[in-house]
Amino acid sequence: MAETIDCDIHPGVPTVKVLLPYMDAYWADAFVQRGMDGFDLASYPPGSPIACRPDWRRAGQKPGTDLAQLQSAALDAFGARFAICNPLYGGTVAVSETMGAAICSALNDWIAAEWLNADPRLRASIVVPAQAPHLAAEEIDRKAPDRRFVQVLLPAGAEMLYGKSYYWPIFEAAQRHGLPVGIHAGLMYRHAPTSNGWPSFHLHDYVAGAQVFEDQLLSLISEGTFLRYPGLRIVLLESGVTWLPGFIWRAIKTWRGVRAEVPWVKRSPAAYIREHVRLTMQPFDAPDDPAIVAQLLEEIGSDEMLLYATDWPHWQFEGERAVPPGFSPALLRRITVDNPLATYPRLQESIA
């Protein structure tokens, strides 16, 4: 298992104060003068069950903020050769373009200095202000030369759907540097979490989050994003996975019926998805039944799409059961090693 590549872990930002040394004078001062902190995402309230598995929680600490614990609980315990850090923090959801960009840039520099430098097994995604695609592209250009950054990270729910031309600068920058674009569960909360408005419970928001991944795929396919950026690789992080087959069926059916509306979409949605889209496999929303899991894997119809992930420290499974029952040894090898290496070409550089 020491070859395993964990494609989704979450180091936590204890307070915005740790980022201030990585900000310019204006912003370093502004956060202090205005008393601004508390930029954790509403999608992952730090005290909520999803944010941290009970046995990984430490009294008085925010989830994922302790490097030593990350090394023992996430890396050593699961035998990770590499693990990709996807920090979930407020820079990506700020309504101010410039403040969002300041937090994102500081976070990227902080991750590089204090996490990636501390353990050679760690890699990271570049967090960007999706609310300002031109600033996001600048940040990608700034951090991409550090080959330990292997992906661009976006929140699943943004101001617009990612197929809109507004976001072209982000995809152009990602393609320029050969970086996949990871879309992680979580919302900017610019729109209601559902098309019927605001649910009462965090549980509902979290469960409905799977639909946003479907919306983003429909948008990227329908707007022709994969035609414009043929090398683009999209990674869906913490999506739940098992919605995929039924989604593909309906996407094919609807496209067959009204494809003349989007005449540039020449291939079946299934073809674009299987070519361009990858998914991390925690959570894997299915019963603990190998027969059902195996059936779902067959319906997904590709052994190249799933990427191993623990989602540490989020609470998705108990003990060390990061892989549901029903995965064959051959598929296990693909998802833990081959697929991550194919999805993140920069990981291969450190192996060779």
């Binding site: 729910g157 759907l161 990612y162 610019r190 019927n196 549980l203 409905a208 098992t242 069926w249 059916k253």
Partner: protein, 365 residues
């Protein structure tokens, strides 16, 4: 292959099908005038029916066929599809030997922002369904339209119609101004449960929220698919808010919302409820247990797996007794009962889906 497809023709004909989704149309807006007061006729003439969409005269996402209809569904003489009872008889009820069909009017009424107007229009639609269809054709049953954003007026409308055998269910729309499980809607569920009337929760509507938590898609090809998400939201909301805990006998039929997602949603809800149940302590069972007890789905638009046999697994996971056949006549994505299922069904399975499951829910005699 053709043998498999052709074989059900005779068999389904003998089933005497129950069609849980037929869309009647007005010939013209003025068809409702006999049941509207002078005030509302004048109001509509001046201000129209203010809803939540950017156009004065149409919905946000233009459909792909005129009136969303089959090209061959326009009656002789040119009235809109679904507006001519004789043509509906010939093209649907007689042709497929449909013993009972449930009408689901979809034109603007139940989501108007002016709640008094909404109540007046819904009530007029109910009178019109009886006058134009159910009083002339015993095979058809109507749905009670209610101004569901006003629970008090909705309950009054239900009480007004509940003793007429013309009405088979209370109709709700999958897009609403709040998730349907929230307390403002509970009086509606209480009335439906009290009278043992199913809720027909039909896909559609525009309630002012973006179709996605990430905003507005550009195309109908996206919005049409995204409508299934509004149905998933309503199923989730009804379960998590405890509507089925409070009204354990309530029956909700999710119409035209797709259904391959139903078992997946149940698993996802169960998996995350196990960790977050402290947030919803009013639930006494796992979410999927409520779904299996209180929710049904209609078949159209049929799920079409890449491998047809996978449909059987999906139905196994949902339960063969939870699924009701529907044609969606006269809409473009109409399902022909002879050819709709991509996989073969046994006679017993056909009997359940085409007939007996619906018989068990609707009072049709």
């Amino acid at each position: 292959m053709s043998e498999v497809l052709e074989r059900p023709t005779d068999a389904t004909a003998k089933l005497r099908i129950i069609d849980s989704d037929i869309h009647p149309s007005l010939r013209a807006e003025s068809d409702l005038n006999p049941w509207l007061s002078e005030r509302w006729k004048k109001h509509i003439a001046e201000y129209g029916k203010l809803g939540h969409q950017p156009y004065a005269g149409r919905n946000t996402y233009p459909r792909f066929m005129p009136n969303t209809a089959r090209r061959d569904a326009w009656p002789p003489g040119g009235a809109p599809p679904g507006s001519n009872l004789d043509f509906m008889r010939a093209q649907l009820l007689d042709l497929y030997d449909i013993e009972h069909g449930i009408l689901e009017p979809l034109f603007p009424g139940n989501l108007l922002r002016n709640l008094e107007l909404s109540a007046a229009v819904c009530s007029a639609i109910n009178d019109w369904q009886v006058a134009a269809f159910t009083s002339q054709e015993k095979r058809l049953r109507a749905s009670i339209q209610i101004p569901f954003e006003d629970a008090r007026a909705s309950v009054a409308e239900i009480e007004k119609r509940v003793r007429q055998r013309d009405f088979a269910q209370v109709q709700l729309t999958s897009r609403s101004t709040e998730p349907l499980g929230r307390p403002k809607y509970w009086p509606i569920f209480e009335a439906a449960a009290h009278h043992n009337l199913p809720i027909g929760l039909h896909i559609g509507g525009e309630a002012g929220f973006a179709p996605s938590a990430s905003g507005w898609p550009s195309f109908y090809v996206e919005d049409h698919h995204g409508l299934t998400h509004s149905m998933q939201c309503q199923a989730t909301s009804l379960v998590l808010e405890g509507v089925f805990e409070r009204f354990p006998t309530l029956k909700v039929i999710m119409i035209e919302g797709g259904w391959s997602w139903l078992p997946i949603l149940g698993w996802r809800l169960d998996a995350h409820w196990r960790k977050m149940q402290s947030e919803v302590p009013h639930l006494k069972m796992p979410p999927s247990a409520y779904m299996k007890r209180n929710l049904w789905v209609s078949t159209q638009p049929m799920e079409e797996p890449e491998r047809p046999e996978d449909l059987r697994r999906t139905i196994d996971w949902i339960g063969w007794d939870r699924i009701l056949f529907a044609t969606d006549y006269p809409h473009w994505d109409f399902d022909d009962p002879r050819h709709a299922f991509p996989c073969a069904l046994t006679e017993a399975e056909k009997r359940m889906i085409f007939r007996s499951n619906a018989e068990a829910i609707y009072k049709l005699d």
